[in-house]
């Protein structure tokens, strides 16, 4: 009886200590591997058609897995501040070949691809290809035209094609009227701060993913700064016209009654007048770094 008990205790100890040892060792190995900075995102199979065949009847689930892998890949690179996102396109290519109705992969994937580094892969050409494929498989989903318009407008700066994308999307009876308005406005003006503000606001209001929402919010804040600076420069011009000299401090515009109070950026830091009396962001403002990064 006693021997039996000893055996059981010994077995229990071996199990507990063994598992604890494995756990500890794995943690140590993980740390070692992290130091190696291994690139572990290599895709063994790159042919979407082959993977589709190998998935048998379960291509939609495998497609969702590849999409999740793309999200994880993008998130991991973002977390490690790495800019090489060359596996992103093959992952999205496979995911959307396996499941051509995977709307999320087209919408978010095109944003991940088209955004300039460090936020995205800086690959708007593949973003356009992805959206084209999405529209071929889902011609009734007008939001893909909006995404296509955004890629042409913001990333490729190809305003005629951006206008065309909005125009095509506006033909869908479910598309809102602003798609037509955007098409006309971009066709007439090309890039403008008001258009940029509207497009980013639309992305911000409709995005469900926190990362996309945060990105849109950042762009909205940056466009707001540009709009503010443009307005302040107009007021500085007005001050110069009235007084015959350029204001050197923002307070002079307030004292002249051109501004009700000291104007501030979205973070609350007051704008300043820099060299040549041009309105600028405050040197202490966190927006300055964001603006420089997004130039």
């Amino acid at each position: 009886m006693k021997r039996m008990l000893i055996k059981r205790v010994a077995l229990g100890l071996v199990l507990v200590l063994g598992l604890a040892g494995v756990w500890q060792l794995q943690r140590k190995i993980d740390t070692q591997r992290e130091r190696l900075h291994e690139e572990r995102d290599e895709l063994v199979l790159r042919s979407p058609k082959l993977i589709q065949r190998m998935s048998l009847e379960y291509a939609p689930l495998v497609g969702a897995m590849y999409w999740t892998r793309a999200v994880q890949y993008y998130g991991e690179k973002h977390r490690l501040h790495k800019e090489n996102l060359e596996e992103l396109w093959p992952l999205l290519d496979i995911a959307t070949t396996l499941d051509p109705n995977l709307i999320a992969a087209y919408r978010f994937g095109s944003t991940f691809l088209s955004d300039a580094p460090p936020r995205g892969a800086g690959d708007p050409d593949h973003a356009v290809e992805l959206l084209r494929r999405g529209l071929q498989a889902n011609p009734d989903f007008w939001r893909l035209y909006q995404d296509m318009g955004n890629v042409y407008y913001f990333d490729k700066k190809d305003y005629p094609r951006a206008a065309k994308a909005f125009e095509e999307g506006s033909k869908n009876p479910q598309a809102p009227i602003w798609m037509k308005v955007m098409a006309a406005k971009i066709a007439a003006d090309g890039e403008s701060l008001e258009t940029s503000y509207f497009l980013w606001r639309e992305v911000f209001q409709t995005a469900q993913d926190p990362q996309i929402k945060k990105n849109a919010e950042l762009h909205l804040r940056l466009v707001k700064v540009d709009l503010d600076l443009r307005q302040l420069n107009l007021l500085a011009d007005e001050y110069e016209r009235r007084t015959g000299r350029r204001a050197t401090k923002m307070s002079e515009l307030v004292q002249a009654g051109l501004l009700p109070r000291m104007p501030g950026d979205p973070d609350g830091y007051p704008y300043v007048l820099g060299e040549g009396g041009k309105a600028e962001l405050n040197l202490n403002s966190p927006m300055l770094e964001e603006k420089l990064m997004n130039k």
Binding site: V71, D99, L102
Partner: protein, 258 residues
């Protein structure tokens, strides 16, 4: 028909006794895990991945049951020598075979229905509501069940003339080939001369086309399935199943059981 029903009921009871339905616990855990995890590690596919994962699990678990238990339906009875006692009674061989077939189909129906309930629960956990389009999931589950019925018939056919190991290989092989039956027909773009092409086409029609029962992609994205397709797939399963079972009965009737 009474004999068929008696054998079927016994087969069902035996499957339950053999803890076949224990796979439901695995399915429940998988769905719960997916419902919790997916929303956190992916973007925009919470609903669709629950549906495609659930349908895949229903299909794969069902396939395993259909192949492994289907193949063992006859061979197990022969190994245990219970078949001889049974056939000594006024039971025809074809009645025994049909009874075994319907017994496993009953098991698969109960199993699939329970998993469908689990899938809806997981969907409700993720969405906090169920929409009208979610009803299409039931259609997909029904079509998966039809596919499983065909697999059981094939497994039964092969187990009538070969060893269980080879019967499993043949059934699995026919399943994989059946998934690509449609692709065989659309191989015209490849540079193949006319005669092999006609042969390939013929084979593609002979093989059970399992793509007929696959609506996972559409249903995962809330799209409907045409009623005509469901009706035709049902008829296809009935026709093909009847042919396979008739073949199995013919082979089994001639088999020397000594």
């Amino acid at each position: 028909m009474k004999n068929v029903w008696t054998v079927a009921a016994n087969t069902f009871r035996e499957a339950v006794r053999d803890r076949v339905l224990y796979n439901l616990v695995f399915f429940a855990l998988l769905m719960m895990g997916a419902a919790i995890l997916v929303g956190q590690i992916s973007i925009g596919i919470e609903d669709s991945v629950i549906v495609s994962l659930g349908l895949t699990a229903i299909s794969v678990i069902g396939l395993f049951i259909a192949v492994f238990i289907g193949v063992g339906l006859v061979s197990k009875e022969m190994d245990k020598r219970t078949l001889y006692a049974l056939l000594a009674k006024p039971v025809e061989r074809w009645e025994f075979l049909l009874g075994k077939f319907f017994g496993l189909v009953m098991t698969l129906t109960v199993n699939t229905a329970a998993m469908a309930v689990g899938l809806y629960l997981a969907l409700w956990t993720v969405k906090h509501t169920l929409e009208r389009s979610d009803a299409w999931v039931l259609v997909a589950v029904y079509l998966i069940l039809l596919k499983l019925v065909l697999i059981v018939a094939l497994a039964l056919l092969f187990s009538c003339f070969t060893t269980p190991f080879l019967a499993i290989l043949f059934t699995a092989g026919i399943y994989v080939a059946g998934v690509f039956a449609g692709a065989l027909r659309t191989m015209q773009a490849v540079d193949i001369s006319a005669r092999p092409m006609t042969l390939l086409k013929g084979i593609s029609y002979l093989l059970p086309n399992f793509e007929n029962f696959n609506v996972m992609g559409a249903v995962a994205h809330g799209r409907g399935v045409p009623g005509a397709l469901v009706g035709q797939a049902t008829l296809y399963a009935v026709c093909y199943g009847a042919v396979v079972l008739a073949g199995a009965a013919a082979i089994f009737s001639r088999r020397n059981l000594k």
